[in-house]
């Protein structure tokens, strides 16, 4: 019997992450993917879409509401928590570690669901990595801006060159075992106080 393509509903308030997951699922050949960002009116949407698998951010505060709704559902196709039989403890751990929660309709074979959940997990992890890198890049940029300002202050107040100013900052940071951006920040703060 040819297996029908599964219908997947992705609920994620984070539009970027939802797009990444959706793209991944489509690339993997899943054509019936629906993305919902707002859980208001979700009962109606679920009734329309009749999803086989629901993927949701573990941290979504509305999960209690969704689970209660699934429990009350009188429909035959009632979603239950992923791997409720716990036959695959490591899969549950991987999902929770990644921040993924999934619900599948009762009776669906696990091997059909697993690739979808695995895809969601890997995309969640990829998104977290990207977000972290972006955060690091942002703080590096901010650090560089601080150092530039601190150099300017030193150059003006001490009449030294840019290179000498930088060396002074770096040496101070090393002596105090702190980041150069922290030293720069302290200097900017102190200079601001002295100017007042």
């Amino acid at each position: 019997m040819p297996s029908r393509s599964l219908s997947v509903l992705v609920i994620d308030e984070n539009t970027v992450r939802a797009a990444i997951i959706e793209a991944g699922l489509r690339e993997a050949g899943h054509e019936q993917v629906t993305v919902v960002h707002d859980v208001n009116g979700i009962a109606q949407r679920i009734a329309e879409i009749q999803p086989d698998v629901i993927v949701i951010d573990l941290e979504n505060p509305n999960r209690d509401m969704l689970e209660a709704m699934f429990n009350l559902s009188r429909a035959v196709r009632r979603p239950i928590a992923m791997f409720v039989d716990q036959s695959d403890q490591s899969a549950i751990e991987a999902a929770v570690d990644a921040g993924v929660s999934a619900y599948v309709v009762d009776g669906l074979r696990q091997e059909r669901v697993k690739p979808i959940v695995d895809m969601a997990i890997s995309r969640f992890n990829a998104y977290s990595r990207l977000a972290r890198e972006l955060e690091e890049a942002k703080s590096a940029l901010e650090g560089r801006k601080l150092v530039d300002r601190a150099k300017g202050i030193l150059m003006r107040s001490k009449g030294i060159s840019e290179e000498e100013a930088y060396t002074l900052l770096r040496r101070t940071a090393m002596n105090q075992n702190r980041k150069i951006s922290e030293i720069a920040q302290s200097l900017i703060l102190a200079s601001g106080l002295l100017d007042e």
């Binding site: 505060p61 509305n62 689970e67 409720v84 929770v96 929660s101």
Partner: protein, 410 residues
């Protein structure tokens, strides 16, 4: 350096206070416990993360461990409750429009749940006659004190929670917004979320948990059963730390400091002023500040003791509302979810006044009453239900038969 590491999940609610104080005031450290607290966004998340071992223990709705042991949760998980995180702390809050209608129908104020319930019944009947929509009331979880006390109150006032209104699940931090957006007409939730809705100008406190059932159970420390068994010493240390923290939280002179700690971004992230009212039992109801006796008790009246009669009352309500069939096996699973034996063993060395009994007749005390304790003096009560009913755990079967199930309220 500490060898006892415990990570606990919690939700941003006032009754996380004991856990927060155990960490912030050093009670955990004194017991050699390195306690890490992780704020969560849903009870489902707390359950999932305790199931996979991210948390050893967590702030939980008292019926959660019972529901887990009865197999009602989507993950197979055995939990125990060796300590309660206080008594009371909830309120029923309604929109200004609904309160207006209730007041016109005879509701007097937050001290009289019977009058408020009778008025609500009239409002519901009026809406039905006019072909209006059913009122929508929010609770935080199907297996929660909120759900059960709200339903208890409604049913005792002649309102069928299944037929006459819609009960919907709303996460605590979203209750005020849901009401402002008109998605719900009222809710039963723990503090500070009633005060937040009142302060935003949307709502009135209609009644409080302490008026529906005085000195009633609310949150517990939920512990993974297998972890508790393998780490009994670490758990005992944590229970001692929590008991001391509860005693600290119970001192009125500490309430301002506690409110300031809880207001931090990592904890509740709400103004300390909004938290202080509930700690002192003086809440802004939307019609002036009102004093509620025993609104939230962190330590007094054996507030941390895991009464098995509380577990059985929750079980009786799970049966009542069709969550689980009543059987002897289920009764025993529910009772054994609460573990006064572990509580006594851990707190014995502190010389704390420990109740000699593990169950009591709920609703029997009309005044503060000294009771049997292993050491020291212990006072319990009053603990009455607003409708004067008595729950005797020795007559659980009769109680279950006698309560009106869904669809049977006249």
């Amino acid at each position: 350096m500490s060898d006892h590491h415990i990570t606990a999940g919690f939700l941003p609610l006032l009754d996380s206070a004991i856990l927060v104080a155990a960490r912030e005031k050093g009670f955990a450290a004194v017991e050699g416990v390195d306690l890490t607290l992780v704020r969560e966004t849903s009870w489902a998340s707390i359950r999932d993360r305790i199931a996979v071992g991210h948390f050893e223990v967590a702030h939980m709705l008292a019926p959660m461990p019972i529901a887990a042991n009865l197999g009602l949760t989507p993950m197979r998980l055995n939990l125990i409750a060796p300590l309660a995180l206080g008594l009371g702390g909830n309120a029923v809050t309604v929109s200004n429009a609904l309160w207006q209608a209730m007041a016109e129908a005879g509701a007097t104020g937050p001290d009289d749940p019977a009058a408020a319930g009778a008025a609500l019944r009239k409002v519901i009947e009026g809406r039905r006659e006019q072909g209006g929509d059913r009122l929508r009331l929010g609770v935080v979880h199907p297996h929660s004190g909120h759900n059960f006390e709200l339903r208890y109150w409604l049913a005792a006032c002649g309102i069928d929670p299944e037929r006459d209104i819609d009960i919907t699940i709303v996460p605590p931090p979203l209750t005020a917004d849901a009401m402002a957006a008109g998605r719900i007409d009222g809710f039963c939730v723990g503090e500070p979320w009633n005060s937040v809705a009142v302060a935003a100008g949307h709502a009135r406190i209609a009644t409080v948990k302490a008026a529906i059932w005085r000195s009633s159970p609310e949150k517990v420390l939920g512990v993974r059963a297998d972890w508790a068994e393998a780490h009994s010493d670490t758990l005992a240390r944590l229970l001692r730390a929590l008991y001391r923290a509860a005693a600290w939280c119970g001192e009125a002179e500490n309430h301002e400091e506690l409110a300031a700690i809880l207001s931090g971004e990592a904890y509740l992230g709400q103004p300390a002023k909004l938290l202080l009212g509930a700690l002192d039992g003086r809440l802004e109801t939307g019609n002036g500040i009102h004093r509620f006796p025993d609104f939230f008790l962190p330590v007094e009246k054996a507030a941390t003791f895991p009464w098995q009669s509380h577990a059985l009352w929750f079980y009786s309500q799970m049966v009542r509302w069709g969550q689980v069939p009543h059987t002897e096996v289920n009764t025993e699973k529910a009772r054994a979810s609460f573990r006064p034996d572990i509580y006594r063993a851990a707190l014995g060395p502190l010389g704390a006044a420990l109740p000699s009994a593990s169950m009591k007749v709920e609703g029997a005390l009309t005044a503060p009453t000294p009771v049997g304790a292993t050491s020291g003096r212990l006072t319990l009560g009053p603990d009455g239900f607003f409708d004067g009913a008595i729950f005797d755990p020795a007559k659980l079967g009769d109680y279950i038969v006698g309560q009106k199930p869904a669809g049977a309220v006249d």
